[in-house]
Symmetry: C2
Subunit: 365 residues, 2 copies
């Protein structure tokens, strides 16, 4: 396997994604929206959620497993709350629309909260929370995902990695952007260890009997990821509770498939034995800052929070304590200038799409 990186212009990649979505009859506005979500993932250095996923969306659209022209509807509505049915559209299209509804509701009612069913994977959770900052709101987003994680004391996959994001704006400092999966480690890290033939740290995975294991094969072959906290003694029941919270807000509350019944994202994943609802689920929230405090006063207080936490006495060997969102912010500053580095496997995937569709793949930068 080659670890070589090839760098592409962010706008070239975005245009390529847009063309791929247009190829399936998706409207221009929706295609550009979907490409924008993927593009931000790559800009922020969340490589697993950007161009690396385009082939999976391509496959699902090719097979007709995702509806390219969804009729996204509010199916229940009550002031600051509503439920949205995504009509089995791309999460990259349903998510932004439902998030917009949450923000519009916040404009009208101070806050807005939208639970979404009948949708698909929506990209990076922080795409949505960051949008709220443009309107002086605090943004929340969550989604459930295909099962990979065992509850504490369980020996099988029952929950997704169910990420949570929330973002708070600073005045002169970049925003605080919280965005994390509720598992101890991302699945992608298990795959990397597998390819390297390396063990994983104790606390990431169990085998099919529920025993902790450091062999990535054990997890892949019927084992599971552990929730944040890893084991009971270190608070693993808290990570499990957090994943459960996300599952319920996104999917029990919206009428989507919850827990082990969430449909798979990729073709190679097993299809659940039962359906208990429609698609997967998301949850979006927006709160107007000025419902609590003057916006500038809040932003100044966030700036001060950031500065105080940056000045925490560091542990030996570390330069400084980071603020949530710092690594992504730093990466974005670099990549906006110098482009998006892609590994060869992703480039091959994209060239395959190009070959199948006739959409030209851009030259490297």
């Amino acid at each position: 396997m080659s670890n070589a990186l090839t760098t592409y212009s962010s706008s070239d990649l975005r245009e390529f994604s847009t063309q791929v979505f247009l190829h399936f009859g998706i409207s221009r506005q929706d295609a550009e929206q979907a490409a924008d979500v993927l593009s931000l993932a790559d800009l922020r250095g969340i490589d697993s959620h950007g161009m690396a996923r385009l082939h999976t969306y391509f496959d699902m659209l090719t097979l007709g497993r995702i509806n390219p022209k969804p009729n996204i509807l509010i199916i229940r509505d009550k002031k600051s709350l509503c439920t949205v049915d995504g009509d089995n559209g791309l999460g990259l299209i349903v998510g932004p629309k439902a998030n917009e509804i949450a923000m519009d509701k916040a404009e009208a009612h101070g806050s807005g909260w939208v639970s979404v069913c009948n949708t698909n994977h929506f990209g990076i959770a922080s795409y949505y929370s960051l949008k709220a900052l443009e309107r002086d709101m605090i943004g929340w987003s969550m989604t459930n995902t295909t099962k990979l994680v065992a509850p504490i004391w369980g020996a099988e996959r029952m929950l997704g990695t169910n990420p949570i994001s929330i973002a708070f704006p600073g005045l002169n400092n970049p925003p605080i952007v919280i965005d994390f999966a509720t598992s101890a480690a991302a699945y992608g890290k298990i795959e990397i260890a597998l390819r390297k033939g390396a063990p994983v740290p104790k606390g990431w995975t169990i085998n099919h009997q529920g025993d902790m294991t450091t062999d990535p094969n054990d997890m892949i072959n019927g084992g599971a990821l552990l929730p944040l906290g890893s084991e009971r003694e270190l608070g693993g029941h808290k990570g499990y509770a957090l994943a459960a919270m996300v599952d319920i807000l996104t999917s029990v509350l919206s009428g989507a498939n919850w827990g082990p019944f969430a449909p798979p994202f990729a073709l190679r994943q097993e299809i659940p034995s039962r359906s208990v609802g429609k698609g997967i689920g998301h949850f979006f929230g927006a709160m107007q800052i000025d419902g609590f405090m003057e916006v500038d006063e809040f932003k100044k207080r966030i700036d001060e929070w950031i500065e105080v936490f940056r000045n925490t006495k560091p542990t030996k060997g570390q330069k400084a304590v980071l603020i949530p969102g710092d690594p992504e912010h730093a990466e974005e500053a670099i990549r906006r200038k110098s482009g998006i580095p892609l590994i060869q496997a992703v480039v091959d995937d994209l060239k395959d799409i190009s070959k199948q569709t006739g959409i030209p793949f851009p030259d490297q930068q």
Copy 2:
């Protein structure tokens, strides 16, 4: 130290607490409210937050550090949102009132969200989320607390154990009640290890240089607790982000003291070098279930969720996977019949209050 337990009637203890609060000129309604919060902690087996804390509240009231007759005011209000100033009242009085405001707002606007400053420790977080269930709402509560936890890569205490609670009602099953501190372990567990002269598990604590330690003395002497996830590799940055989220929603947003500036709960704790706001902060939320889905349909879906998760294949040596709130629910069923067991140190504390105030301490059951 004696480990013997003496059992008291729950209503006798509640009456004793009520009398102690009345002793300071607190109104009957507020005194009964405060006693109710402590009582529920003991009933649910969260011993650290019930009668065990009465002497601390007693000390703070005796010294005039807490206002017994607060004028609790909404200082900013916008539809589903508001900020409440607790006038330095007992958190056990300010919390229930602010939570009531969140639920009343939810009645009017679908959801209600209240950030609270100028308050004090509010007891168990799940007291508040459980209240929302009585009104067919989903309840949220959070609070910041005195600094004890280091951010990842930090070598000093910067955040409280900042708990989060959220509760979801079942139809025939008891509710799912999520309530956890965002640290890997509770401070009380360090104190227990210290008294026993026993080590703590790796992952709970660091010493004053930021090195992981299993000696509880190292944490007490200028060290810190670790956030949920314990170390970077196991996702400790996620627990830190979660504690930061709670700190910001409760205290940056309300105008309270955030992070390392949260004032101490107990007399023996160090007073922060700076004040950046008023008191500590809470955050309450309530969402009407029927804004998303028919209430009974949601409760049936929760029942099914509970049953599916209870039937997870368990790991070796475990009978079954638990649902968040199960242990407390089981304990409450027992204690409502057989009373509240108290350790001798707590009984001594309560008898001391009795001696100082002349309020008779009840006989054991």
